[in-house]
């Protein structure tokens, strides 16, 4: 399946991926409303770590054998057989964050429900990849070899 891969040597620590992820997962889909006025504030599913010298944007790896799906106590976290996307059903999720406690990559963030990347529900290009100014995030199915 196509996944998002981060190339740390190209990441500029600009955090635009976070801004546009929030926008893509907001109600208004407007970059200003989503990031400034909308309540409850939408959450970014990608997070940038590091500083100007070295940084990288981390979002869900959509693992083949997802630990978070196994650990989810309500069955809200599932991996779609066809698309391979691991996503959370926001109604069923009770926000206990057990998934967060087992994800070895730190791709899940705390919120009213588990905040994690859903690859923009199979858009042709996730918002973070589309808005990365330096192609530090690529959306390919090369298994990260090309990374």
């Amino acid at each position: 399946m196509k996944k998002v891969y981060a190339k740390e040597e190209l990441c500029l620590n600009c955090h635009l991926c976070e801004v546009f992820c929030k926008t893509a997962h907001s109600l208004s889909k407007d970059v200003i409303k989503a990031n400034k006025y909308e309540q409850p504030a939408p959450a970014a599913r990608v997070k940038v770590y590091g500083d100007n010298k070295l940084s990288v944007a981390v979002n869900c790896r959509h693992c083949e054998e997802p630990k978070c799906v196994k650990a989810c106590i309500t069955g809200a976290m599932t991996k779609d057989k066809k698309t391979g996307i691991v996503s959370v059903n926001e109604e069923k999720c009770i926000g206990c964050m057990t998934c967060l406690a087992v994800c070895p990559f730190g791709c899940i963030q705390t919120g009213k429900f588990a905040v994690k990347c859903d690859l923009c529900r199979g858009e042709d290009e996730p918002a973070c990849v589309k808005n990365c100014p330096n192609r530090a995030l690529v959306y390919t199915d090369l298994g990260g070899a090309e990374v």
Partner: protein
């Protein structure tokens, strides 16, 4: 092949699904004494406090089981396992099996208390049915008393506090959530809960006897002599593995059903066991323990199912990991939290309402307790599970864990999503 699974919760469902994945033809029958299709037990407290609709509690859509050829027999408690002719008696019928898996989970442990047995308003809080009764019975002016300040007791207290004005919790140990919190963190959480949930704690105390009137408890006399008026009593002292069926069938047990920690096979080669009813081996210190936790049940169920269907999935390593929240206060714990012994050291970092306690064994992380400081806790968990030598960690262990903890090669592996 005919597969029978006793118990339809986390372990039972995981086992059934794994069998189906590896054996498309075999007939799979899952028996449960409960009235409901497989549902998530930990969510009953969210149901009790009205945060979750019943329909959202089910683990799979009803149509799922037929679609995947898994037969669920509700209201069918297994009565007896006949190992000679490999059959299970339930109700008036007996079901033959080639491979059997016992996933009977745990049962409430009720300590000896005078005049509590059989009282109409003494309840347990383990399953959906129990939660439904509490929800029906509880009214704003019900005086609720919960015995036990463990995970279940505290969750029951939180739920009831949304309905009843007066909620009292009685706990033998000197602090709440003794199994997952230490002295300092327990005090902080207790103070927080008392503010948020108007719950009264009676620590280091227990119920000596109960006064009752025509089969209903009216008040409780504690060891300390205090008397608590009580219309509803919830027994949440603890749980024990449900091993009654296994013991009758002569399968080895020691507090829980004994199994091979990797294949989950019991002393009978055609019988497996998984979940809360088994005894696990804690990979962190090798000791045998009851690790009644949802993720472990799923791993064990999956391994048992695979072995039963001739597959080769094993349980890699079992340890405790827990994430729970009370009134928005998030607690996340993992590993040996109350480990004693010279080789264990621990350090705590606290600022404002963030509390982070890390437990080390020589140069390895073996446990943590995080309160409102759970960001990327899973990375700590992976350090524990992979027994990572902390010398390799590039950043300060107390910083929020990130992939920058690992040097470049390791980091690249994780960025590429290779399993770690």
């Amino acid at each position: 092949m005919k597969y029978i699974i006793i118990g339809a919760s986390a372990a039972g469902l995981a086992c059934a699904e794994q069998i189906r994945k590896e054996d498309a033809a075999g007939s799979i029958t899952v028996m449960t004494g409960e009235h409901y299709l497989p549902y998530s037990r930990p969510t009953i407290s969210y149901y009790l406090k009205g945060a979750l609709k019943p329909s959202d509690m089910y683990l799979r859509k009803p149509s799922y089981y037929a679609a995947n050829g898994i037969e669920i027999l509700t209201d069918t408690p297994a009565r007896e396992i006949n190992r000679e002719n490999k059959t299970v008696k339930a109700g008036r019928k007996s079901y033959a099996y080639d491979k059997l898996c016992i996933c009977t989970g745990s049962k409430p442990f009720i300590p000896p208390m005078k005049h509590v047995e059989g009282k109409a308003n003494a309840y347990t809080f383990l399953d959906f049915a129990g939660a439904k009764i509490l929800k029906q019975k509880a009214t704003p002016n019900t005086k609720a008393v919960i015995i036990g300040a463990g995970l279940i007791g505290m969750k029951a207290a939180e739920g009831l506090s949304k309905i009843c004005q007066s909620v009292d919790v009685v706990e033998l140990a000197p602090r709440i959530l003794p199994s997952i919190l230490d002295e300092a963190s327990a005090k902080k959480v207790q103070k927080y809960i008392e503010e948020k949930g108007h719950i009264h704690f009676h620590l280091g105390d227990t119920v000596k006897e109960a006064k009752s009137k025509d089969k209903r408890i009216t008040s409780l006399i504690l060891n300390s002599g205090k008397e608590l008026p009580c219309d509803m009593l919830v027994l949440a002292v603890g749980v024990r593995p449900e091993t009654q069926l296994a013991e009758q069938a002569g399968i080895e047990t020691d507090r829980g059903i004994l199994t091979d920690p990797a294949t989950m096979r019991t002393s009978d080669s055609d019988i497996y066991a998984a979940g809360d009813c088994t005894v696990s081996v804690d990979m962190l210190d090798g000791s045998k323990k009851i690790l009644a936790l949802y993720p472990n049940a799923v791993y064990q169920g999956t391994a048992a199912g695979s072995q039963m269907a001739g597959g080769n999935i094993l349980v890699s390593g079992t340890y405790a990991v827990n994430a729970i929240d009370f009134y928005g206060l998030r607690i996340c714990t993992c590993g040996l939290i109350n480990a004693q012994g010279p080789q264990y050291t621990d350090k705590t970092a606290q600022h404002g309402d963030r509390y982070k306690r890390l437990i080390f064994e020589n140069n390895r992380l073996v446990g943590f307790v995080l309160i409102n400081a759970g960001e990327n806790a899973g990375i700590y968990t992976s350090l524990i599970e992979n027994r990572t030598d902390l010398a390799e960690i590039q950043t300060d262990i107390f910083d929020t864990p990130s992939l920058f903890m690992f040097e470049k090669a390791q980091r690249q592996k994780r960025l590429k999503g290779e399993s770690v």
